[in-house]
Amino acid sequence: MTAASQDAPAPVPGPSSQRPSQTDIAEQQYSTHVSLRHRLAERGIDRTLLLAVPGVVAIIALFCYPFLYGLQLSFQPKTGGVFGAYKAFFDDPYARGSIGKTFDLAIPASLINVGASVPISYRMRREFRGKRILLALLVVPITLGTVLTAEGLLEYLGPVGWFNKTLQLLHLTSGPVQLVNNYWGVLFSLVITGFPFAFLLTHAYLSGIHPSLEAAAATLGAGSWQRMRHITLPLLLPGLLTTFCLTFVLAFAVFPSAQLVGDPAGQTHVISIEAVHDALEEFNYPLGSAVAMIMTALMLAVIGIAMGLRSRLYKGSTGGKG
């Protein structure tokens, strides 16, 4: 119980005193054999590498090959030389306009999804009655397909839907408010389907920040807003950028909802609709491929900017479980 608890190290006789030569040689052969395997394992080469094979094969067959096929196809238009398809796209104001329309939808939708996730997940860090039910409710839209969501939106927000009926019943509007078959319908749909992903990610990032950090900040005199600004937000920001990228990619590739609850020939003539139109309605595969390549390049550019910003932030441990 008292202080004297240091153990005296007992002198250990050295193991190098005597060694028969016969076993010495055998041991050496054995040890070089083992060390090759060990050296390979040190570099990550061992049999568990085989576990990655099915995944790699699937990625090559289902992603790399179609992508490269599309890439070379986009440089082989019927007219206009190697860059003919790209030129055709950028020369056509209607086709070219689809880029802006897609950004107009994807950027606000991603910002809304990430922005709404933060306060909700912040509150969800604490235990409270009904937390699991709320969590389930927030995540359920993942299980609904885009088509189902679109159907629901048409029924609910349409000219004779509940929403408009209620507004008119309360005499808030004289005629029906147009919320579907235009920009708003698609934006709603993107928020409904994208939010659960953003929320789940943000929730995971936030629970990775140890609550004692905020407690420490509080004892040092930081009020709730200062704790958010100086501690939580800086630690959460890298995660929020990743979340933004994910929801942005989902929103940028919007197709079914733009078709179903949007105005596919006008306001919501997004880039994926343009690509499908060129390839499957005009049967101009090179042009369709070129549009798909432009779409990929734009997504990569946005992700590149977000990741560039992220690399300038603190990315180490956040003191918590995640």
């Binding site: 119980m1 008292t2 202080a3 004297a4 608890s5 240091q6 153990d7 005296a8 140890h210 004692s212 950090l213 407690a215 420490a216 900040a217 509080a218 004892t219 040092l220 005199g221 930081a222 009020g223 200062q226 100086h230 501690i231 800086p234 630690l235 603190y314 180490g316 441990s317 956040t318 003191g319």
Partner: protein, 359 residues
């Protein structure tokens, strides 16, 4: 009286207040009492240790003091001003967390400067005080590093510097040494004592290690199941523990439940109904036989089970007649299996009434 809100450095750094009074401070979680009403008055400049095993309510008491947990009952008054309704950021108490809780995205310097920044201390003043704190904790050459690049002991020193640089009226420490290895723990213990002597900041220190508590504190509060067992100076508690439980914490490793043969019969004058005897391992000795034992001592026969080498002496575990195992510190090496007679001077044996569960 020095104003609590006065956070400017004063030439006579020291206690910011006369007394901090806890009256009936209690806290329960879902109907289960984690801390039964605690009454304690802490004087300015004092170093108080809350001692007890895990789950005794000591961390709950600390969190209540810091304002991180609302009280279920009672009040906390700082020189007559009630502070138990204030949020932690308004109390301005410095706290050192068990896991240090350093801000991982800030450098050591920025971590230490955080509290001063929140108090809007002017820049030159802030720089001066942070540099002083870095110097005091011998961290100057590590100032630019992030917590992830610091060793456990350095992180610990940043945590302490961060808490004391704001010169808080009260510093709260929650088992600050429990994550360090044995050698570093001893070093940091001295460091904490030195910083307390230098700054004279009132400190409440939570620990489960009686050695830490005895060596650091001016006053000890021993807690058990959310209730105070004893409050006193280290010497008082060490020499006159109020119960077998406190005695167990104070190095009385041998707690014997009576009747123990002759002991109860021979000491009628000491206590009307003694039921538990406490003996320190260092007060027990191995003697040749009952006859050769010094006069007026309690003797027990037993068999040596285990012998540990402790440098200057040996610690032996001896099984006595009824299967109880006692610890003995002795200078000669007993052999396991040897039959021995143990003797303790009767004046060194403490007798307590039996409390259920005391062991």
């Amino acid at each position: 009286m020095a104003a609590v809100t006065d956070l400017r450095p004063r030439p006579d750094a020291g206690a910011h207040f006369a007394e901090l009074r806890l009256t009936g401070v209690g806290r329960s979680f879902g109907g289960v009492a984690a801390l039964r009403p605690l009454d304690l008055t802490i004087r300015g400049g004092e170093f108080v240790a809350l001692l007890g095993p895990s789950g005794c309510g000591k961390s709950t008491a600390l969190n209540c003091l810091a304002g991180l947990l609302p009280l279920s009952s009672g009040s906390i008054e700082l020189d007559g001003r009630r502070i138990d309704g204030l949020p932690p950021e308004k109390r301005g108490f410095g706290m050192v967390f068990q896991n240090y809780a350093l801000f991982p995205h800030l450098t050591a310097r920025a971590n230490i400067a955080f509290g001063l920044k929140m108090r809007k201390v002017p820049k030159t003043e802030l720089e001066r005080r942070v540099s002083l704190a870095l110097q005091m904790t011998r961290l100057t050459e590590h100032a630019h590093k992030h917590p992830g690049q610091l060793s456990g002991g350095q992180q610990q020193r940043v945590a302490i510097a961060r808490a004391v640089v704001i010169e808080p009226p009260l510093v709260l420490m929650d088992e600050p040494l429990s994550n360090l290895d044995a050698a570093l723990r001893l070093e940091m213990r001295t460091e904490i004592r030195r910083i307390h002597q230098e700054l004279k900041l009132t400190t409440v220190y939570v620990t489960h290690d009686q050695e830490e508590a005895l060596s650091l504190a001016d006053r000890l509060v021993v807690l058990r199941d959310g209730k105070v067992s004893q409050i006193g100076t280290p010497a008082e508690l060490y020499e006159r523990p109020a119960s077998a439980y406190v005695a167990g914490f104070m190095g009385y490793r041998n707690i014997l439940r009576l009747p123990l043969g002759d002991l109860a019969a021979e000491t009628p004058e000491q206590d009307p109904a003694p039921a538990v005897a406490a003996i320190r391992p260092e007060d027990l000795d191995i003697v040749g036989s009952t006859e050769t034992a010094p006069a007026d001592s309690l003797t027990l026969d037993g068999v040596v089970l285990v012998v540990e080498y402790h440098g200057r002496e040996y610690l032996a575990q001896v099984e006595v007649a009824d299967g109880r195992r006692l610890y003995v510190r002795t200078s000669q090496r007993p052999a396991p299996g040897e039959r021995v007679t143990l003797a303790a001077p009767r004046s060194r044996v403490l007798l307590f009434p039996d409390e259920s569960g005391a062991s």
